[in-house]
Assembly symmetry: none
Homo-oligomer: 208 residues x 4
DNA sequence: AATGAATGAGATTTCATTCAT
DNA sequence: CATGAATGAAATCTCATTCAT
């Protein structure tokens, strides 16, 4: 163990504090000072542990990505029935509300992915792990006869991730869509694509 | 006319220059200097016209939102057949590629909407105008018998906007999804939701 | 004239101020703040003109080298008789006293020449221009029959420069040798090497 | 013995390490960290032993001065014949080359002698011990009839020290004079001043 | 005795903004 | 109207030093 436990704990605490600071102020407005205040240490301590602020941010992002994906993968694994799996994954993909820390973090980093390679890679990892999750559930559901996929599994998975991303943003951004409604829309698409009416009540719809 | 024309022209040019600068460097990294350089004027000139930099950014965002929505509304109006309308709107909602200036701008401002009221309002306007566009097309298509909506028009419209947003980001962010594929996914959903197979070839899909 | 006169004047003033500050505090202890104070401007102004402090220091050194050499070359040119020339050059090569600004500057930069290439080049230029000055005077004095060189002109010139350098340091460093004595030693060597007793009284010397 | 031996040994090691660090990076750029790294200890250990960094530097200088002078005095004492003594002292006064650690150290401290009293005193001690060395050799050589001093012993001694100082710098500073040439110039002067042609071949010299 | 985590003073650097021209 | 020299507030970064272990 090259680095003593105490130092690791402090690093962890700083990353945690940085996460909170970013969620509160926005990534672009978070200063060393904010992180230090949040962690209850001196500003110098932050630069002592992270010579480079960008590196710290990258780690915060990496951790958020991993935590988010792991969480969902675990959630999926907790169910046997593909339909239950799908429902669980759908529900846990959306932020709980405007204060969902993990999700807020992920959105803060999005525009950076256009400008920084390391962020682009992480963003891609986030995307592919989510895609993989959905594709697996759909494929297994189809194989077991539970789902009758009306479009390619790949497309449905991609669409579910996309809807999740977009609605997630709506839930988080103030003045937008409530989580409940976002969830209904997601399940609406899932029902349509898997031809499983138990995911959403099917009717014949007129205008509006 | 309180403000002479020449001054207005200069303001317009600065907004234009700011847009380019933001697209290139990212919103958070754009300095007065960058805008001035891009516009070919002195730094002092920028603050001379825009005492408040935040105001300038807000205007850039507002203009981008309006330009984007107007463009699409015009596009929709250019067609008679609801299906052509829908196809046209879908196609023009996605960025042409990673260099689509207008779309890049819109994404740069997204995380700010969580932190600044004026941005939140603009973001909401952007959302609602797009939503309205789709809902209209769908409703009229349904009324004319062209579409057989399998879910509420409101939901389908919201899902189309959401898919567009998410895929738009993928097209723009480097290392992500090519526009072509994003478009196919979008049409796939549209075909499913409107029960109009002409939008995408319908088959029975197995795993993968 | 790409750069307006006023800006050039300010740059010149800052270089001048930097010279004073360096002489007072020593090169290694001179901060941006000291230069700004000396010039009567804000600290930001110094970095506005000289983004890189090292660059400023290099210019100060370069200017000092050039000024010092030009001064001496002009002095030499003011005389006809080689002996008068030699005497003039010798006298102007030594600092007037511990406050001789130009000389203090040159000594401050000496140790840096071991560590920075640009300083090494300037130091070398300083050396070669002085060497050339002496060699010329000696050669012409010999040719005219005024001097009877007892050692190669090259060696005598090098030795005169070396003595000058070392004694110059003594004159400048506190608690060292008075200028008067340093001058006598220099002339003593010159008399010996040129066999011109008029440069220093020649006797037969016993111990002490 | 108030201070135990082990502690003394550690102090000694740190001074040694500091010397190396200063030679490598230059006095003004040497940080506590560099010394600690060089000595293979923690940074805290350096300040534990030397509460005051300036004090440490002073001791490094003092030690260098003493070591340099003692070395030369021992060298002089190793010979009987005044001419051999003079030759030995001359040879050992010049740095062996650009990496001569002791000499580099002495030069690093030179400009500080203008700004710090303690350094000025050490520099003066260095000067006077060298001066004394030469004066003794010259006086005894003259008394024994070996030398026929053509200038006062005091002046010759001072000039030899001065030449040594200046040429020493040239040898050390990159891009300057090779040691061999410096030595020839020094012997040239010694031969002239002591009228001892065995120190350097005497001829009649024309221009160049 | 020795460490090295943590600090905070002090320096530089960046940059929006002011203002005389 | 437009400039750009000059500013100074605000941020980061460096590093000697402290102190609990």
């Amino acid at each position: 163990m090259a680095r003593p436990k105490r130092q690791d704990a402090r690093r962890e605490a700083l990353l945690q504090a940085a996460g909170v600071a970013i969620q509160r102020r926005g990534l672009h407005a978070t200063r060393v000072r904010d992180i230090a205040d949040q962690a209850g240490v001196a500003a110098g301590t932050v630069t002592y542990y992270f010579r480079d602020l960008d590196e710290l941010f990258r780690l915060v992002f990496a951790q958020a990505v991993d935590r988010f994906c792991t969480q969902r993968e675990r959630e999926a694994a907790a169910h046997e029935d593909p339909r239950d799996q799908l429902a669980a994954v759908l529900r846990h993909g959306l932020p709980t509300g405007p204060d969902d820390q993990l999700c807020c973090l992920l959105y803060e980093f999005s525009p950076h992915a256009r400008h920084r390679d390391s962020d682009a890679q992480l963003r891609r990892e986030l995307y592919e792990r989510q895609l993989h999750l959905y594709r697996d559930v759909l494929t297994r559901g189809h194989a077991s006869g539970r789902f009758d996929l009306r479009r390619p599994a790949e497309e449905i998975a991609a669409n579910l991730v996309a809807l999740e991303d977009a609605y997630g943003y709506h839930v988080i951004a103030r003045t937008f869509m409530p989580r409940q409604q976002a969830e209904e829309h997601l399940f609406g698409y899932a029902a349509l694509a898997t031809a499983d009416p138990s995911l959403a009540p099917e009717n014949h719809y007129g205008p509006g």
